[in-house]
Each structure stands twice: as C-alpha cells, then as structure tokens.
C-alpha cells in the first residue's frame, strides 16, 4: 500500500489546478499568477525563461518528501489535464548517471510504487526507455504507449559527444516523419543546404515533433541558459520541475507553484525531527558520545520491537577528515582506531565507505543478520544512498565542507517505515559535532538543513539543543559574551533587562543569559554609543535568535487543547456534522438529468476541426494551428479503435468519483451520450474525437449534481430542523484535540513574538489577521490560542458548510475554559454569500453549545468586538 500523504495530495491538487487553468486560458503566466494568488494571497511574477506558451513550473519538496513518487503522478496529470491525450512522450531528466540508474530501476520494476502509478493511469501501456533504447522506437510504440525516456540533461546537449547521437540523422526510423503535415516539419532540423537540406531523421526531431512532457529532477541544477537552449530544441509541451532547493530570485528563478514545509513532512512521519545537537571540544569525546547514543538507541529499539515487532538497528554515520600530505588529520583510520580501542566497538560493527574502500556496497543494511552499526566516511556518501536506520550523524572533521554536512545530515533524517515509533527517542535524529563554537555549528547545521529544503525558520526550529550540553559545563550562554569598547552601567539597564543581560563595566563585557526580544535589543543598542558596539549587540541578538530556545509552547508542555465539534443526531446516534451526512444514502446519480447544455459542452466549436477526422481515410486535411493538428493526429491513431462501448468505458473510468458506484456512472454516461446523439445529432466518431472535452463536461456535471444535493441536504438538516423542532437534534461534543504536530505550510514571520500561541510557530497570517492575533495574544483572559490551519482537517478545528469545511482563523481557549473561535473578515467580504454561510454555521455552533463556545466574525478591524468576546 503506497498512498499519497496529505501534503503530496495537496501538491498534486495545486499542479492539477494550474495545468487546467493553463489549458483553458492558454496562458501559463496568467494561470500561474492566479494560482499563486489563491494559494499564497500574494502577487507573483512568472518567469517564462523564453518559453512563452509552455507551462514551466516547479514543485518544492524537502529532502525525503517523495519527489520521484510525485513526479510519476504528475505525468498522468500533465497528460490528461493539460495535453488531453491518452498517452504522451515524456522526457524525465535527471542530474547524474547514478540517479539515472536508480530512476530507471524503479520505473522498470512493475511492483515499484513509481511504476504502479503510471501503470494505473495508463492501463499498463507504459514503456520506460533510455535514450539508446528510444532510437529504435517504432511509430506504433509511440502512438499506443506512454513512453518515458529517462536520461541526463547532458545527453541532449548539442555540444557534447553524448548529445550527438540524438541529433544524428538516421538515428530513428524514417516512418516517424511520413504522413505528417508539412507545417509540423518546418521547425525541424535539416541538413545544410550544400548537403541537400533534407530533413534529419534524428531522435531530437522526433521528440520535437511529439512535444514531450518534461520532468526535471533536482531542477536547481537546470536553470542555466544552456539548459534552456537544450530544452527549446526539444519543443516541450510543458515542463515540471522538482527540487528541494529551487532558485527563487533572479532572472533564472523557477516558478515555484507550491512549497511543502518540513513541518508537513514531520506530521506525516516521513522524517525524524527534531535533530538533537551536541557539540564537544574534543574529538574522541564526540565519537564516544555517538557510540553511547547508539547503544542507548539500540536498547530502546529492542523495546520497540517487543511491542510493535518492527526491527530497527540504529546506525551512526561518522565523518572523518581527509588525509593530507605532511599533516596529521583525524582520518578514517584514526576514527576507526578510536572506535575499536577507546569505545570497545567490535570490528564487525564498523564499515568504511570511502572512494577507496567500499565497505557497504552490495550490503543490505536493513537485514537482521547485518552487523554494521558504524559507517565511517570522508565526504559525502554515494548519491541516493539512503538508509532509514541511520540515526546519528557524528562529525569529527574540523574543516567541514557544507555540501558534505548537508548531504550526510540528510541521510539521518528518513524515518524507518514512514511510521511514528512508540519510543520517542526513535522519532528523532542526533548530531554530534566536534567543535568549540556551538553557535557557529548550530548556524552551519541550520544552513545545511535550509539547503536540504527546509525553510530557514523550520531549520532552526527543528534543531534542538541537548540538555547535556549544559550538564557538561558547556554553558550555552557562556559563549554569548562579547567585549565592548565601553559597556553601559548595569544600573542603566531597565529592570527586566537586567535579568537577561549581564554587563561588566570593569572589563567592558556584555553577556546574554536569556533570549532578548527585538524591543529589548533596541533598548540595549541605545545604551551603547559607538557604532561598533551597536554592531556587537546586533550580532548577539542574531546569534541568540538563530537558535531556538526559551519558548516552551503549551503543546510542548503537554497541555491538551480540545474543542467541541458540532454534532448531529443521525440514525439514533450522535455523530460529527460533516459532509457525509449531507448526501442521503439512497442518492443515485443515475436519477439525475444528464443533458449537457450548449455552455456546458459547446458543440459548434468543433465543426471546423471535424475535417481532421477524415485525414486518415481521404488524405485531406483542414488545418487550424499546427500544434493542435499534431496533437490530434496522434489521438486519431488511438481513437480509431474506439466505438460507443469503448467510449462509455473510457468516460466512466475517467470521470470516476469515489462516492458514486460504477453502475450508476454507466447509466449516467450512457444518458449523456444518448442526449448528445439524439438531440444534438452528433455521431460517435465526433464524440470520440472530442472525448477529452466531453470528459471534463461530465466531470463538472457530476460535481454540480453532488454540490446541489449537498446544498439541499444542508438546508434540510439545518433549516427545516430549526423551524420544526428548534435545535433539538444538534449538540456539541466529541472534542477535536489539537495534535502535537502543527503542519504549517508557511510560517508567519512578524515583528512581535506571540507568547500564548499553542505551538512554537504561527502559520502565516496577513497584516490584519496578525493584528487580530496580537489582540488575542495580549488579552488577559486568554489561556492560549491557535492560528487554525486551513485544509488540515485532522490538525484543525472546522465547521461544515454546504460546500466545504470552514476553518475559522483563530481558536482561543480562555482561562475559564470557554472556547472562542474568531474569523477575521475584511469589511468588503463580510456580506459575501460565503461569509454569510460561515457566520451562520459559526453562530449555530455557538448556540448549540449552551454557552461553552463562542463565535465571532469580524467586519473589518472590529477589535472591540474581539475583546468583548474574550471578556465573557
């Protein structure tokens, strides 16, 4: 079973929405900018990178997020939602030959999830090929299969030897270029005129002709002019990039359509977080601490196995220094000696993985009989090496290349089996670093995490300082002492500041003993005179703010924040009032009208292109635009096999809805076809030809029927009931409990520090919402509050509306136990239908709760009303 995680589902939904929009508007710029506005409520500036009409977007997932799995899914989306074809040619571009091998291996394995996704979407008509294998492809292979060509980008570079074979004439069969409209051949490469100017039968030309869907893995490597030129030669229909670290600025920036945060990965148990960090000044001590940690974890893992049966053997990755001529370094041998002699590690538990000694090649580390617990390496491990048993990262190297650290750190993050462990130590990762400067190390690791695709905010949040750091006498703050040219008198400091800041006027030093706020930093800056001293304070402030500490959120303290849901009596039992009960169990799609109106399914548009259907039989063609013809030619090849029964099967499959039984869908689709044939006089060939549009129209119709039914159900349950017997059938209860995880997609970075937020961070807010949050955070009656996450039904509080779930902006717990839900609405949005409905259900929840819960929707900045609610 390999299902999509919530964040993966959401990523694909964004991609689908974008592709649909790009297909309907025929303008990727508009489509992109609209999507960004919807998702992030901000303006954006699409970078077409010289591909004006080609959707070219990037999806960003942190390391471990399942990029390749999503890439497989996005092929089906691009094919069906954007190009509107049954099959397509796909170029899957990877950055290196190591990843090429891995990707090929996975895609060729029919049981591998990446492949299963493709087989399901394309009925098993999937052909995975290298460039070499594509040279021999036949015309029918291309017409009947999803052809995925996995290759490096270099293989298509015209200036490289690898690239030559793809541009060579005679590389592919001449058949591919026969019976193709002339217009399509115009842009293809030809021999020089002195060589006759004939068309080159090259793979590049073949690809050009078929307008491939291009998938770019690790796309941050592929934003150069050279790449753009290479891609242009291949005439892509759309380009989808995947990376953890996209370029987001400059003229070579990617169009990031959606960002997945580390918190979202964490809440799905994909990665181990937080990372506990310990820095030690002596390298042998660093190693022995890592060994101790390994032994502890292994003991815990045994307990885990006893209760859950899951086998885990925690592994330590040790990074040694490289050998240098004429210098003694803490090299691989030294580290191994230390493990053997000082830490009494049996030799069989140690493996060395370097360029020269490949101690883990071909070994399955996940097997029970494998003894390896310590892997010593110099730089990074081979690309794509991945072992969920790796729990501890230990670095003794003094000079650290950030790339190596980043790579190795990434290796200890993957969670075994993608499932939470009962033993909490197994849900975290550990870093032991040989260093005298804790702050520098923490900053470097934070940067490394950022390069693994974590937001800077996330990165520092998930780095946790080990308590032991203090026990060992390495007082965290002792390093936060700086010398000033002239220190202020201690008495000059405001009282609250004196507890956080120690100044020593004698030797002119200043020491931070607790985290200071932005405001306090300002006060301090004013107390010193020279610009250099002001600079020193600024640095101190930055240092302490890069490192998470001090704010222990209620969630972390183990507080339980629960909120009663709206319940309805149904079938004699109380149950949450949600979407399910809006549709009566007996609802049947087949009983609903199946007539598509002229606006729902315009017929006339196709008249002009109908001539194309005759291309096959008479050889005559009526052209519209070359692109369209090219697409349609291929689809005719496929569709000629389709008659009415096949069309019904195809439409039923493509319009599948999980709540509608197959039998009902078959009746409905048949009724749709019947009316189109009878009333509109269309014939089956025509319908087969326009089936992608027809599929969209049917999907929409079905969605409308469901929506209308839900609206009726809503009216029935809420309003009829209210009129008839008051609100007897409703109550509140079955409290939702805010879980420990808070999978915010983006984090609010404001200029004040919330003090009563239930979690350490606050999900993004606009300025007005932040103002509202400020009022709540500073109100004396408030115990704690939460910035409610949208579209996270298992992590948020919601109320059902007739169409959707409504997630109020803020949920507040008062000291007297009452719950207040606040929704901020701008003045101009307050009277919209959608707002009215939300207000209504919010107030209904309040009245059903008998005084336990309150609801408020503000009309603009009605802060007094907010305060009033909190005063209750």
């Amino acid at each position: 079973m390999f299902t999509l995680k919530t964040y993966q589902q959401q990523t694909l939904e964004k991609l689908e929405a974008f592709l649909r929009r790009a297909a309907t508007t025929k303008n990727p710029t508009v489509a992109y900018e609209e999507c960004i506005r919807e998702t992030y409520r901000r303006e954006s500036n699409y970078n077409d990178a010289g591909f004006p009409n080609v959707p070219y977007v990037c999806l960003r997932l942190p390391t471990g997020g399942g990029k390749t799995f999503l890439a497989s899914h996005s092929i089906a989306l691009a094919c069906k939602e954007y190009i509107g074809k049954d099959v397509a040619l796909v170029l899957w571009l990877v950055p290196s030959s190591a990843i090429l091998e891995q990707t090929l291996k996975a895609l060729r394995d029919r049981r591998h999830p990446y492949r299963v996704v493709l087989d399901e979407a394309f009925d098993g008509n999937v052909s995975i090929r290298t460039v070499e294998e594509t040279l021999g492809i036949s015309r029918s292979d291309l017409a009947g299969n999803l052809v995925v060509v996995v290759s490096t980008l270099a293989a298509w570079r015209v200036d490289r030897t690898e690239g030559r074979r793809v541009y060579e004439s005679g590389g592919v069969s001449k058949d591919h270029f026969e019976f193709v409209p002339k217009e399509l051949l115009e842009n293809l490469e030809r021999h020089d005129s002195e060589n006759g100017g004939a068309l080159k039968y090259s793979l590049a030309n073949l690809v050009h002709l078929h307008r491939p869907i291009v998938i770019v893995d690790e796309a941050h490597n592929a934003r150069t002019d050279l790449t753009f030129d290479t891609l242009k030669r291949l005439n892509p229909s759309c380009i989808i990039e995947y990376t953890a670290t996209p370029k987001v600025r400059g003229s070579d920036r990617s169009n990031v359509l959606y960002n997945v945060s580390a918190a979202e990965l964490k809440s799905e148990h994909v990665i181990k977080l937080p990372i506990e960090l310990l820095t030690l000044g002596e390298w042998q001590q660093t190693v022995s601490n890592a060994v101790t940690k390994q032994r502890e974890l292994e003991a815990v893992a045994k307990e885990e196995e006893q209760t859950t049966g899951e086998y885990i053997r925690p592994i330590v990755l040790l990074q040694a220094e490289a050998d240098r001529v004429g210098q003694t370094t803490i090299n691989v041998n030294e580290v191994k000696k230390c493990l053997l002699e000082q830490c009494n590690v049996p030799e069989e538990e140690i493996a060395i993985a370097t360029g020269e000694e490949r101690g883990i090649e071909g070994i399955d580390l996940l097997q029970r009989d494998c003894k390896i617990r310590f892997i010593i390496t110099k730089q990074a491990l081979k690309e794509g090496w991945d072992c969920p048993f790796a729990y501890v990262f230990c670095s003794v190297a003094k000079v650290r290349s950030s790339k190596d650290v980043e790579q190795l750190l990434g290796r200890v993050l993957r969670m075994p089996n993608v499932a939470p462990k009962q033993q909490d130590p197994l849900n975290r990762a550990y870093a032991f670093v040989h260093s005298r400067d804790f702050y520098e190390t923490a900053s470097n690791l934070t940067d490394s995490l950022t390069r693994c695709g974590f937001e800077p905010n996330d990165a520092s949040r998930f780095l946790e300082i080990k308590n032991i750091q203090v026990e060992l006498g390495l007082d965290l703050f002792s390093q936060l002492t700086r010398t000033l040219s002239s220190a202020p008198e201690p008495t000059a400091l405001p009282r609250e500041l004196r507890e956080k800041v120690k100044v020593n006027a004698k030797d002119n030093t200043i020491t931070l003993v607790a985290k200071i706020t932005e405001e306090e930093k300002k006060q301090l800056t004013e107390l010193v005179e020279s610009p250099e001293d002001k600079q020193v304070i600024e640095q101190l402030y930055r240092a302490v703010h890069r490192i998470p500490m001090s704010y222990t959120s209620p969630a972390k303290r183990g507080e339980v924040f629960s909120v009663p849901q709206l319940l309805i009596e149904f079938d004699g039992e109380l149950r949450p009032f949600d979407e399910e009960i809006l549709i009566p169990p007996s609802w049947n799609l087949a009983e609903h009208h199946a007539e598509l109106s002229e606006t729902e399914f315009p017929i006339k548009v196709d008249v002009g292109t109908r001539g194309l259907i005759d291309v096959d039989s008479t050889g005559k063609a009526y052209f519209h635009n070359p692109n369209q013809i090219q697409q349609e030619l291929t689809s005719i090849l496929v569709s000629s096999r389709m008659h009415r029964p096949e069309l019904v099967v195809w439409l039923v499959k493509e319009t599948r809805h999980p709540s509608i039984p197959h039998a009902q869908a078959v009746v409905f689709v048949n009724k749709v076809l019947e009316t189109l044939i009878q009333k509109c006089g269309l014939d089956i060939d025509h319908l087969v030809y326009v089936r992608f549009r027809l599929k969209e129209a049917i999907k929409k119709k079905v969605a409308e029927h469901i929506e209308a039914t839900k609206k009726m159900g809503y009216q029935d349950l809420l309003f009829a009931d209210r009129v008839k017997k008051g609100k007897g059938k409703f109550s509140v209860g079955e409290d939702i409990v805010f879980p420990r995880e808070y999978p915010a997609n983006s984090v609010w970075k404001g200029n004040w520090q919330p003090e009563r937020h239930f979690y350490e961070v606050v999900a993004d807010m606009n300025d007005e919402e932040a103002e509202c949050a400020f009022i709540i955070d500073h109100h004396p009656n408030v115990e704690y509050w939460v910035r409610n996450l949208e579209r996270q039904e298992h992590h948020s509080f919601w109320l059902q509306t007739s169409t959707d779930k409504f997630y109020p902006d803020f949920v507040v717990k008062l000291k007297n136990g009452k719950i207040v839900a606040v929704e901020y609405k701008r003045d101009k949005d307050y009277s919209a239908d959608d707002s009215k409905e939300k207000r209504w259900i919010g107030e209904f929840w309040e009245t059903s709760s008998s005084g336990l819960c309150c609801f408020l929707m503000t009309k603009g900045k009605e802060w007094d009303k907010v305060k009033q609610k909190l005063n209750l």
């Binding site: 079973m1 299902t3 919530t6 589902q9 079938d571 039992e573 149950r575 949600d578 979407e579 399910e580 549709i583 169990p585 007996s586 499959k653 599948r656 809805h657 999980p658 709540s659 509608i660 039984p661 197959h662 039998a663 039904e793 298992h794």
Partner: protein, 87 residues
C-alpha cells in the same frame, strides 16, 4: 492478493494477509434489506464491520466517508470495479 484459505463466507472481513485486514462490502451487509444497504461505505457501516486491529483495505462500490478520514484510520478504500486489477 490471493484469497486466504481461512476466508469466511458471509463475513465482510474476507481475510487477513500480513497484518492487513481485507474487507468486501456487499448488499445487506447490516442484515437489512434496504436497496442501498451496504455496498457504499458510510460511517455507520464502518462502525459495524468486524474488528481488525491493524491497517485495513476495504473493497466497495463507493464511499461516502472522505478518503482523508479513512486514511487517518489507516484504511485504504478500493473502488470496485475500477480499482481491481486482473493480472
């Protein structure tokens, strides 16, 4: 998935394979005779299914329980006949 030998007739729990419980919904599953009683998954039916401690795969004609709610409970819903493969 091969049908396990211990499969019982008339129980929606058709078997357990590697810790995963496999269910097949059918008409009249709750013993009532209503037309739509059973092959569409609802919360009510979910509550009445024979217990299995562990992940579940439920085959049925449709589901009114949202897929995300099912996923939260480690249930994979497979829509019949769309998601049945013959190999």
């Amino acid at each position: 998935m091969p049908l396990p030998k211990n499969a019982k007739k008339s129980s929606p729990l058709i078997g357990v394979h590697k810790g995963v419980g496999y269910y097949l919904l059918f008409n009249g599953i709750l013993g009532d005779k209503s037309v739509d009683g059973g092959n569409i998954l609802t919360t009510r039916i979910l509550q009445k299914l024979p217990k299995h401690d562990g992940p579940k795969v439920i085959y049925g004609e449709g589901t009114r329980v949202s897929l995300s709610r099912l996923r939260k409970q480690s249930i994979t819903f497979k829509q019949v006949p769309y998601e049945i493969k013959t190999s």
